[in-house]
């Protein structure tokens, strides 16, 4: 217990030295550290958004829209199939939360209709088929009644799969969109079932980014229904959509001729004649061919470019467009044209996103917090250091050395582990200052007692350490348990508090016991005192 082999002494020294070295980069500005030669450690402690400034956005994917769209596509598909087969029907529509209902005029055609409608099902992955989707292997379950009623129900497993895919896809698209805006080091991750956490360091006003993220950007090219009156209810198969300017209304066919999925590129540019900002786009081969077909068939008719149920423009086709590219014009500013091009390039979100939580900290406030934190740490260190010397003399001084090493070691460990220091984390550092010397208070008090019982200095110290250890261990384990709970259930900056304290506690187990013991033993061997200075 009270003897240290030379290799152990060397190891302890090495650990302390390494901590000092690895904590050094955190005390310099990032630009300075970047210019250092490569053999020097460069990892700095990473600051949370509340200290460096930035925006934390929690987005929720509205997965119910995905479900609704699927149901509507089933309705649309059923309408087409039944019409083509000339099967008479009534009351086709969505029924309840997850099924589509239709009644046939002629119950004898039920079996024929059933087979046609079964084609509307989309095959599901084998993984979910194993969950008991039945023999059909598609997401639709069709039940019929003898009087000609057909119910098509979307299976739960397929819906869940669809929702999950929508979130995964959304994450990818949000990432692409944010990358295009030039924010450095964004973090984008899934949280829970249907939420996405986006962290944007250095973004003080996330308004523009929220707009970019919040747009679904579902682009479709559809024909305008020229026979219908925009001020009357839309005929079946068409819908009334608003235009960019207020009060503008169009009747647009529901059938999508070409979709945004077929876009391969979109770039902001200027119209050669008017000089107005425009967005030019290019289709892939399929999209280009389809676009050529429509424009050939419908010369002289208007078609609508629809983005998120809003008509961006409805130009009249003057001549067939065969090159597979086109442009969108409107009253755009340069920024709007740029952002729209970003959205079209990154692709549409499968479902709308909404921001459900925002926490934004300006960079100045972050700097103020760091400054206040540093002052607090300095004052706290001075107070504790002085108190320990006053209370325990030389042994207090040993504890103080350990305390400072512990602070450095905590910083080094956090830099190496890439743990994030937050504002509550600074409070955690301060608490660790106080809690790490607690161990030395317990040890020193115990040594005092052992001395009073008449033990020799060496025996008293040995007993002091071994007997205080279990108390120290208990105190630290209970704290670690609580911090683990806080980490798993807390969020954001509070997690930083839990991490900082946990690391500080773990390193203090080394500094307050091993390091202090080494200092005491070395002192004892050199001075050989008859009385301990506690």
């Amino acid at each position: 217990m009270m003897y240290f082999a030379p290799w152990k002494v060397a190891l302890i020294g090495l650990v302390c030295l390494a901590s000092v070295i690895f904590s050094i980069p955190s005390f310099f500005p990032a630009a300075t550290v970047a210019s250092w030669p490569n053999w020097l450690p460069k990892r700095q402690i990473s600051l949370g958004l509340d200290l460096r400034g930035g925006a934390h956005l929690l987005l929720e994917v509205d997965t119910s829209v995905v479900l609704r769209e699927r149901l509507e596509s089933v309705v649309e598909g059923a309408r087409n199939e039944l019409r083509q087969a000339r099967i008479g029907y009534t009351n086709l529509g969505v029924s309840g939360s997850n099924s589509v209902l239709v009644r046939l005029r002629e119950p004898s055609q039920t079996e024929q209709a059933r087979q046609l409608l079964a084609k509307l099902g989309i095959g599901v992955q084998s993984g979910t088929a194993a969950l008991g989707l039945g023999s059909s292997q598609t997401d639709l379950q069709i039940t019929t009644t003898p009087d000609g009623q057909i119910r098509m129900t979307l299976s739960e497993a397929a819906l869940a799969e669809r929702a999950r895919n929508a979130v995964t896809q959304s994450i990818e698209i949000v990432r692409r969109r944010i990358d295009q805006t030039g924010v450095a080091e964004p973090t984008i991750q899934r949280q829970g079932d249907s939420r996405i956490l986006v962290q944007l360091p250095g973004v003080g006003d996330p308004q523009r980014i929220k707009n970019i993220i919040g747009t679904t950007a579902k682009l479709t090219f559809r024909m305008v229904d020229t026979n219908a009156d925009p001020n009357a209810p839309a005929p079946p198969g068409s819908e009334i959509l608003e235009g960019e300017t207020r009060g503008e209304r169009y009747v647009v066919k529901r059938k999508v001729e070409v979709a945004g999925d077929n876009l391969v590129d979109a770039q902001p540019g200027y119209d050669q004649r008017s000089g107005q900002p425009i967005i030019s786009f290019r289709f892939d081969t399929t999209g280009g061919r389809r676009f050529a077909e429509i424009t050939q068939q419908a010369v002289g008719l208007p078609f609508a470019i629809v983005l998120d149920n809003k008509v961006l423009s409805a130009p009249v086709i003057r001549e067939p467009i065969l090159g597979g590219s086109g442009q969108i014009s409107g009253n755009y500013t340069v920024t709007q044209a740029h952002d729209l091009a970003v959205l079209l390039r990154a692709g549409a979100l499968p479902a709308p996103l909404k921001v459900v939580e925002e926490r934004t900290v300006g960079p100045d406030l972050g700097e103020d917090s760091i400054r206040a934190g540093l002052i607090s740490i300095a004052v706290a260190a001075v107070l504790v250091v002085i108190y320990m010397v006053l209370a325990y003399g030389l042994f207090g001084l040993f504890a103080d050395v350990a305390l400072l090493i512990n602070l450095v070691m905590t910083l080094a460990a956090m830099s190496l582990l890439q743990a994030t220091l937050t504002l509550p984390g600074i409070a955690g550092l301060l608490l660790t200052l106080g809690m790490s010397v607690d161990a030395n208070v317990l040890i020193n008090e115990r040594i005092r007692e052992e001395v009073k019982l008449g033990k020799s200095p060496m025996a008293a110290m040995s007993a002091g350490f071994s007997r205080a250890f279990s108390t120290i261990f208990d105190a630290n384990v209970t704290t670690l348990i609580k911090m683990a709970l806080l980490y798993s259930l807390g969020s954001g900056s509070v997690k930083g508090f839990a991490v900082t304290i946990s690391i500080g506690i773990l390193t203090s187990m080394f500094t307050a016991t091993v390091l202090v013991r080494l200092m005491m033993v070395t002192w004892l061997r050199q001075r050989r005192p008859t009385l301990l200075p506690v």
């Binding site: 706290a380 209370a391 317990l442 279990s470 108390t471």
Partner: protein
């Protein structure tokens, strides 16, 4: 060399004489705290209630009546404005905006643009907008963390000591936590995620202090087989008085600067911690130890043979 001893060595203060008063006082304060918890109730922050907090720095000292009118005209429900650290710094709080999660966002954006339009040069330093369902989730998780922490402590102390000590420690812990919650009500400090961190930390102080005293009680139970329990507990408290006070004092000293210089955002957190340190220290002496006495000598001494197999404790 001069040594600072706040508590003289070899004290023999008869703490057990005050056990009834101490326990009664503690129970009384805790009951009051529970009543306060229900009425008027905690001042829940936006983390747990949903709503908006905006911190702004104006170019000139803030004109509060004009600002109140400006925010009031936005029709976003009840709002509260206060000075935050300096005359140019304003903290604006808005209540939860209905049950729609994105409503908080919309409202925050309205306030942001209204402020920067009416007062050009205003720096928006912080915006926090928490939607209704998000706050409900955070609240559930926060309460769960507190509950689990209590259970985890019970289990740990159960393993570490005999059940009598476990009951004593947990009873004290519950008394401490209720009083901390009472403190939140009385001081009107916002109860939010950071408050959960504060309460868990106070629980940590409390358990750590109890471990020191209980360890000594158990050690003395082995050492003095015939000493009456009442005197034995008094002796244990007196023997550990210095370390109880000193460990608390070092943490107190390290937290104090946070309350003084740490800035507005962490001041309240630090104040709760300081309260908790004092509370945990006093409850170790006046509550946790007397509870042992009530549990009785026979029960405490009976577990001894098993106990001796365990390692020696300080």
């Amino acid at each position: 060399m001069y040594k600072l001893r706040l508590i003289p060595d070899n004290t023999s203060i008869p703490f057990m004489k005050g056990r009834i008063t101490g326990l009664a006082m503690s129970a009384f304060l805790s009951v009051i705290s529970v009543i306060l918890f229900f009425y008027p109730g905690l001042n829940y922050g936006i983390d747990f209630k949903g709503g908006i907090v905006i911190e702004a720095r104006m170019a000139q000292p803030a004109d509060f009546p004009a600002l109140r009118t400006l925010i009031g005209n936005l029709n976003l429900g009840h709002s509260a404005l206060q000075e935050f650290g300096g005359p140019t710094d304003v903290l604006i709080r808005l209540e939860r905006q209905g049950n729609e999660d994105s409503a908080a966002q919309v409202a925050a954006d309205k306030v942001r643009s209204a402020l920067t339009q009416a007062y050009p040069g205003t720096e928006i330093r912080r915006v926090e907008a928490v939607g209704a369902s998000v706050s409900e989730g955070l609240f559930r998780d926060g309460m769960l963390a507190m509950g689990l922490a209590l259970v985890a402590m019970l289990i740990y102390i159960w393993f570490r000591f005999e059940w009598q000590f476990g009951i004593g420690a947990i009873a004290t812990l519950v008394l401490d936590v209720t009083k901390t919650i009472g403190f939140y009500v009385v001081t009107d400090i916002q109860f939010n995620l950071v408050a959960i961190a504060a309460i868990l930390t106070v629980m940590g102080f409390s358990v750590n202090d109890k471990v020191v005293v209980y360890d000594r009680v158990r050690e003395n139970l082995r050492k003095y087989k015939t000493l009456p329990l009442r005197e034995l507990i008094d002796k244990s408290i007196n023997e550990t008085l210095n370390r109880t006070v000193n460990t608390s004092l070092t943490v107190f000293l390290s937290t104090l600067p946070l309350a003084l210089f740490g800035g507005e955002a962490v001041r309240e957190f630090a104040i709760v911690l300081l309260f908790g340190i004092v509370l945990a220290t006093s409850s170790s002496v006046f509550i946790a130890a007397p509870i042992l006495l009530f549990l009785g000598e026979n029960r405490l001494r009976r577990g001894q043979p098993a106990e001796q197999a365990a390692a020696q404790r300080p």
